[in-house]
């Protein structure tokens, strides 16, 4: 095999891990990181290290299942746990992802308003483009656009450098954990880990690996793809926190939304950094608006045994197309309705995600340890210890986060 050929095979395998990881930094994630940087400066940077480790442990396991079984996670859950469990899981996932899609369109609307473009034009336009891309386009086009859009995340790295941060202070805060006994601090710590590991990602990653048909022989390359993806996710997060921490934190500027960060950056980091930040947010939001509904439609159809595929038509795959279309239409309309309960919906969505994650992770761990499914590729004892440990910590954190997101509602 020539060196070129080897490289080509390698390139053909990488992708799922990197795409999944990038899309993980969606509108919600970016908001969390921006707010964390603006509110607490560099002090939360250390959370990215445990986050990366947890992400790698979980994603590696999911990727391995995809390679060994050649099936998606929803396929395996359906075959092992039956239609009832799967059905309810899919309903929760549908509602949760609906909330996430709303958040993506809200992020898109906000970033467009940074440029002075009316959301009443840009949201329908964005929704229409997203819709036409998948219903009329082919898979190849969709994949290329996704990969291209992933590159745009580099915008955050540039804006990070443009803010001229204090690197020695950053290094110190990254490697030495610090805690403050402040509710907001704790919430943000948990939120950083919580927004990084979501139920839909697990389904998405395993399906895309299974779809790619990556064989055992190429598993190493695939694992590399996943690990690189995990690092990229957190490197982007790292630069978002840095940007906001360097420019907004010293001036005590409080923000609650990612687009406010873009606006607030202008006087301190300059026009370009501000624009880069807004463009990256727009990109992340629209990417999320493509992938979240698409992934939702995919695994619901897989689990239920319905036809699915970007290359199919409404006639061939009606369930798939209608789930996708409905998600996009309703979410984009909701963003446009003045006074629509968006915050409530997003809270509900993160709550449902929090509820679902333990099930997804526990199912995944049990499946990965099933000899009948995984053969000799089950988790080794030491890895099981780490995985179960990670899963328990994530579940505890997510539960706390979900609880905290909901409690303010009771107070009001």
């Amino acid at each position: 095999m020539s060196r070129w050929r080897k490289l080509l095979i390698f390139i053909s395998i990488i992708g799922p891990g990197i795409i999944t990881a990038n899309i993980d930094n969606d509108a919600g994630g970016i908001t969390t990181y921006s707010v964390a940087g603006a509110r607490f400066g560099y002090t939360l940077l250390w959370t990215l290290i445990p986050t990366t480790i947890a992400l790698i442990v979980i994603q590696e396991m999911i990727a391995r299942m995809g390679v060994i079984t050649g099936k998606g996670l929803s396929d395996l859950i359906r075959e092992r746990y039956g239609v009832k469990v799967t059905f309810f899981m899919m309903i929760v996932l549908l509602v949760a992802n609906f909330g996430t899609t709303v958040a993506e369109f809200a992020g898109w609307a906000a970033s467009m308003e940074v440029f002075g473009l009316s959301k009443y034009i840009m949201v329908p336009l964005g929704a229409f483009l997203v819709w036409i891309l998948v219903t009329k386009g082919s898979y190849k086009i969709v994949e290329r656009i996704l990969l291209g859009a992933c590159l745009l995340y580099l915008g955050y790295v540039f804006s990070g450098f443009m803010s001229k941060p204090d690197w020695s202070l950053i290094a110190q805060n990254t490697f030495i954990p610090s805690m403050k006994w402040d509710t907001e601090f704790i919430i943000l710590t948990i939120a950083i880990i919580g927004t990084t590991i979501t139920p839909w990602m697990q389904f998405y990653l395993q399906s895309s690996i299974a779809e790619k048909g990556i064989s055992r022989a190429h598993y190493k390359a695939s694992r590399f793809d996943v690990i690189v993806g995990c690092f990229i996710t957190d490197i982007i997060a790292f630069f978002i926190i840095i940007t906001c921490a360097t420019t907004l934190f010293p001036h005590g500027i409080r923000i609650t939304e990612a687009h406010e960060a873009a606006l607030a950056l202008k006087p301190f980091a300059g026009q370009y950094a501000s624009t880069l930040f807004a463009v990256s947010l727009a990109n992340a939001s629209i990417l999320g608006a493509i992938v979240v509904p698409l992934a939702t439609a995919y695994y619901i159809c897989e689990a239920m045994g319905w036809e699915a595929g970007v290359d199919k038509t409404f006639k061939d795959a009606p369930h798939f197309m209608w789930i996708y279309t409905t998600l996009i239409v309703i979410s984009s309309l909701l963003v446009l309705i003045p006074g629509a309960p968006l915050i409530l919906l997003m809270i509900l969505s993160s709550l449902l995600n929090g509820l679902l994650l333990p099930f997804v992770l526990i199912f995944a761990l049990r499946l990965v340890n099933d000899k009948k499914i995984m053969g000799e590729y089950t988790n080794k004892r030491s890895r099981n210890l780490i995985s179960w440990g990670t899963v328990i910590v994530i579940i505890a954190l997510t539960a706390t986060l979900a609880f905290m997101t909901v409690t303010p509602m009771w107070k009001e």
Partner: protein
């Protein structure tokens, strides 16, 4: 114990089973099936009480329908059941598994299984793959019916007869079901490829091994390149080499080049020598160049041959060739002099020499020419095949139109296997 009429397995699950006194023996957990003619039949039902499982033979039942199930025997006579991988259990092994539906060339899932009484037995007659089955499993079939009636529609039954279903592996434990092998072989290779791209690797390999080598070779060609290599890699070498042997040399070379080196060498060693040599020769060229695309089997005759001699020789030679659109005319050193289309050859006077009737203004390309350029030339000059020559004009092979047709089509209609 006869079953009158029909029922769905999900309708009896978790139903209590009563003994002759009317005491509770346990609840239905699963249904054990054995082979039968013409259809598989129930040999026993598995009941569960306080986490212990018992086997209740079909003969020991006295009433069996969706409202009531009762046995002739008492609790102390129940046989303890320990699950075995060899048994075929409807809930464990058939429910929720994939079915490859050959008619629509798509994958569906088993939502429920339908039983029917036949000569005193309960036979497995069909699997439910529709929405109704899902709703029934969730216990809301009636509600679902009412709901769609509001919209003026009815829920249709979507059943596949068991006759069309055959286990993919001898033991049904963790695998999917598929349509009968013969039916699969009758499908168009593109459809087979479509099905294979939708099941897991392991099942894909099994499906492939069930096909006859000719059909397999064609279906393999229709698969995505990375999938081709993955499947061949996992197949046993004998089977794989047989399939490779039946592929045109250029396609075989593409597949082999994607395999791990050892496997590739092993396969090449098992293939008929002549074929293996042409493949090895093609492996030397980059995939997306004329050299990588070309077939190195072609017909070339000396210029002094007469038309009738040429036709005579062509009859013998062409049988083994993949494509024969043109007869090339080459000198003793294999230098390309001209080409004659079959039509021109047949219409020419039988005593004419090939050199008299050949076209000598030929389009040719070098082996390292980019595939897009090759496609452009083939399209521009309306060729069926384009000869590939080295710098001394020695003919090496030809690129046929079907190898570049993908490059000529707009992206949407190219061969593509799904998705995200």
């Amino acid at each position: 114990m006869p079953l009158f009429g029909e029922l769905f397995v999900s309708e009896i699950l978790k139903k209590p089973v009563l003994d002759p006194r009317g005491d509770d023996l346990g609840r239905v957990k699963d249904v054990l099936v054995i082979k039968g003619e013409p259809l598989p039949r129930i040999s026993a039902i598995i009941i569960e009480k306080k986490k212990a499982q018992y086997l209740l033979k079909w003969d020991s039942l006295s009433i069996f329908n969706k409202r009531i199930i009762s046995a002739k025997i008492y609790a102390d006579k129940l046989e303890v059941y320990s699950p075995s991988a060899d048994d075929l259990l409807i809930v464990r092994d058939i429910f929720d598994k994939q079915i490859v539906d050959a008619n629509g060339a798509k994958v569906v899932r088993v939502n429920d299984v339908k039983l029917e009484g036949l000569n005193g037995d309960a036979c497995l007659i069909a699997v439910d793959v529709g929405m109704r089955g899902i709703l029934r499993r969730l216990g809301v079939e009636r509600n679902g019916e009412n709901l769609v009636q509001v919209f003026g529609k009815t829920l249709t039954y979507n059943l596949i007869s068991w006759n069309y279903i055959q286990p993919l592996e001898p033991r049904l434990t963790t695998i999917s079901l598929t349509i009968p092998r013969q039916m699969l072989s009758e499908l168009h290779p593109s459809d087979i490829a479509e099905i294979i791209s939708q099941v897991s690797h392991k099942e894909g390999v099994i499906l492939f091994e069930g096909l006859d080598p000719d059909a397999a070779a064609e279906a393999l060609h229709e698969l995505r390149p990375d999938m081709q290599a993955a499947i061949i890699d996992k197949m046993d070498s004998e089977h794989a080499s047989e399939i490779i042997e039946r592929m045109p040399a250029d396609e075989a070379a593409d597949v082999i080049s994607d395999l791990p080196t050892e496997k590739a060498q092993e396969l090449l060693g098992m293939i008929e020598r002549e074929e293996a040599e042409s493949i090895s020769e093609l492996l030397g060229h980059e995939e997306d160049t004329a050299g990588g695309l070309m077939i190195n089997e072609f017909i070339a005759y000396p210029p002094e041959l007469t038309v009738s001699e040429a036709i005579e020789r062509f009859r013998k030679d062409a049988g083994e060739l993949e494509e024969a659109y043109y007869i090339y005319v080459a000198d003793a050193k294999e230098k390309l002099l001209g080409a004659i289309s079959l039509r021109d050859l047949i219409l020419a006077p039988t005593d004419a020499k090939l050199s008299d009737i050949m076209q000598d203004k030929l389009q040719t390309v070098a082996p390292e020419t980019d595939e897009k350029v090759v496609a452009g030339i083939i399209s521009k000059y309306n060729l069926l095949a384009l000869p590939v020559v080295d710098k001394d004009n020695v003919i090496l092979g030809m690129v046929t139109v079907d190898d570049v047709v993908d490059l000529l089509l707009p992206p949407a209609s190219r061969k593509k296997r799904r998705k995200v």
